[in-house]
Subunit: 540 residues, 2 copies
Amino acid sequence: MISQINPTIGDLQGNTAKILEGIEAARRTNAELVLFPELTISGYPPEDFLLLPHFIDAVEKQLDVIVKASTGISVVVGLPRNSHEHAEKYLFNSAAIINDGRLLGFHDKILLPTYDVFDERRYFDPGTDVRCWQLHGKKVAVVICEDQWRHAGCVETTRYNRDPIAELQSQSPDVLLNLSASPFSVTKFDKRLTVCSEAAKTLGCPVILCNQVGGNDSLIFDGYSIFVDRSGELVQCAKGFAEDHLLVDLSRKERCSAARDLMDDMYQALVLGVRDYFRKSGFTRACLGLSGGVDSALVACVAVDALGKDNILALMMPSRYSSPGSVDDAVVLAARLGIKTKTISIEQPFESYLQLLSPHFEGKAPDVTEENIQARIRGMILMAFSNKHGYIVLSTANKSEMAMGYSTLYGDLCGGLAVINDVTKQQVYALANWINRHGEIIPWDTIHKPPSAELRPNQKDSDSLPSYDILDNVVSDYVEEHRSPEEIAARHRYPLELVYDLVKRIHRSEYKRRQGPPGLRISEKAFSTGRRFPIVQRWV
Amino acid sequence: MISQINPTIGDLQGNTAKILEGIEAARRTNAELVLFPELTISGYPPEDFLLLPHFIDAVEKQLDVIVKASTGISVVVGLPRNSHEHAEKYLFNSAAIINDGRLLGFHDKILLPTYDVFDERRYFDPGTDVRCWQLHGKKVAVVICEDQWRHAGCVETTRYNRDPIAELQSQSPDVLLNLSASPFSVTKFDKRLTVCSEAAKTLGCPVILCNQVGGNDSLIFDGYSIFVDRSGELVQCAKGFAEDHLLVDLSRKERCSAARDLMDDMYQALVLGVRDYFRKSGFTRACLGLSGGVDSALVACVAVDALGKDNILALMMPSRYSSPGSVDDAVVLAARLGIKTKTISIEQPFESYLQLLSPHFEGKAPDVTEENIQARIRGMILMAFSNKHGYIVLSTANKSEMAMGYSTLYGDLCGGLAVINDVTKQQVYALANWINRHGEIIPWDTIHKPPSAELRPNQKDSDSLPSYDILDNVVSDYVEEHRSPEEIAARHRYPLELVYDLVKRIHRSEYKRRQGPPGLRISEKAFSTGRRFPIVQRWV
């Protein structure tokens, strides 16, 4: 059985309780073995908790509990464990192979991803070998996540000089098990399937991969654990974005479709990311500024699906520059979603600041200062509601804006969680249209009007930014693909000066992103802990 | 000659110009060889610039320029370079050994620190061997920074299974050169000296270490390059916190004192960190809120020494809760430092917010909400000055406050740089006293009055926090030493409940620190990129 659970980082007892439930569920269905995701006991990624010796001791105690609970069944469960004295790092990222009350041994992860959001070489030493375990009359090979990726050629920035799948070939396993914590991105399911498929074909045996599910800070794990047969075809697939106990039937011949609804996946990922950020930190209620624009409209929809409409408060905070249409659109959306709203004009504090500062700004024309003041008053009001009533503020900046620094630090960048800061503006529109696929929920006017921050008269995003298709292409090529400006200009036939300017703006706004709230990652390269550039630099 | 230069990250041409100047300086003094710090051409740490292939190509071009400029002299310079096809990562962290217009070869760093702020395994493959180079009739061994640390037993969280110094022993070098980028911490000079000393004694030859100098974001490199003789004694030492060309005289017998003024070092580190953050990003002027408290007083002193008094604006922003003494103290300090001040009462916007929000806060008693509003108005005013006049705002939160979350997000945590967020409250007092060692600069009243945020009537830090000696001990033991709460309680005889509570608060305020401005690192474990804990977790 695949026990696709949603652990909470560091909740060793809670995670162990879920493991014991998984074992119970497997027993009820007469499964011979139950497979859990990578680092099950600690949750993935535990980050620097791994450096606390008392944390590792506590993990070990939970392993004893699990071994004792394994009467009559095999259990394969993930955990960090102390390495031996010849290892460079103090830990292995391991899978414990347990059968009928006995710990048979460990597989230690061999290929340790150390790129993007992954820092496994910070904590772990690579395992030395990979082997089969005799369980229920079968030769069962066990690997962990990345161990299997090199074989399919699906790894970037690293050329591992070992290939555990190839190393297993001579051992002719009857089945390969993989414990994974493989975070969601829009292209990830297909890659994961390819990885399993290639291993199955090489080894000539079925592959069963159990993936973690759930949101942990920025990372969203989509689940979708899979069973592919010896020819590499998908036979069974667990739920996406939810816990699942999937009884694998190795004799099953029917295949299952690998087709995905990518819009649905992307939306469900955001919903799960928000839900788990709140649930795992003990919060239930969110507030956000609803401007009548498409970004906050999308975030409101996600929030309602994640937390329930009764837990959402939308603040409408119009200024002298807000268009009547925007306010109306926000009201209509809030009514459709059934969420509470409050309208608080920011005129009074705005006027107060202008008066207070005017002696100090004499002779200076209005500029971004006055725009930022408006955004920061809104941030202030949202944070006051957060402090007084226990809401977490949701930030609504998107990835295209984050790239350009087209956002106000301490203003619209206030919040506990940036829901869509890895969603490009074009993806925001696509998701808004998808939400409206069965009929208007987000007012069409919100989707169709030219985007504007409404911080000065007749402002349009296009005053300061190129069209979003150009911007999103440059961001994708430069940030995700590491292409040079010259290459980007050439492949899209953009003026080189334009590309230079955009790349410069990406680096210049690093200081803003560094202080933004954590954002949910849905691409292969988000503006988050997986992208590490200096603030002060003179390359660009 | 040791050419202890201050490179800017990514400024390949500027850094190369400094290298050529170093070569010129060496030539003028008839030095046989000139030694530069680690990753000289790119600056250290270049972070994800290393993942851009066009960046690495550009570095290679600069190496050609340097080789051409080396007529009649030997040059040892650091750079990232492409690794060979069997390497796991695409790069080596290398030293180019150049003599008289010819590139003789490379030493590739073998021990790659991947802990705390160091992520070298993210980018680099370890080198395979270490050797001597025949230069000017001498056998010259070359290593890079960490290569030398394991031998002295000075590495934590990693047990390297190679020891390049021991590997060199059979080759009997005449001298060992070390290219370093070893960041400042209060205990670092002594460690670095021990490391050189141990290598010298093992190899029976002098050791010359060239350390980078300068501030790069959070990291401050102190320079203090050293030459120790074959018996491991310190003979020559370059300047601290400044560029220096030190002509090493291998025949010199006189020794030099290794004694340091730690307070002076700590202060100079902060000054250099601020100066380079501004200079390297093209800014000259700073503003800060001057409250009359000791934290902002210290930051003002550092800022004046870093940027010059004419470049500093202090804003006094009293509220109904500010004590008259505080305002007076701030005025006195500003006058002594000769910095511009402006006084802007926050009463008017505070009243405006209270009125605006009162309908929404009915029946709720004043609490932290109203305190945060005051801090955020101050942040708003500072940011308005920043936007309108081009100041960078200096944040004044200290490490003890950052540990506890005793600070307001988007309020006193506003800013481009957090000057003292790795300085504990006790160190703040020690530095303030040190600044006053020749006479009062910071008003003694500022130092001696009980610390208070002055955000409600008669507020004292001690209302919410234990005494700072207890707090700082727990932070040091838990954050820097990774001790368990039980161990901490036992060794200091503190109530276990108190330690649990403080540890809980450290983890609960992770979300605030994540959004704080980058801070200058002066300890072995700052709240910065070197400490990576999840925001959402249930371990504590």
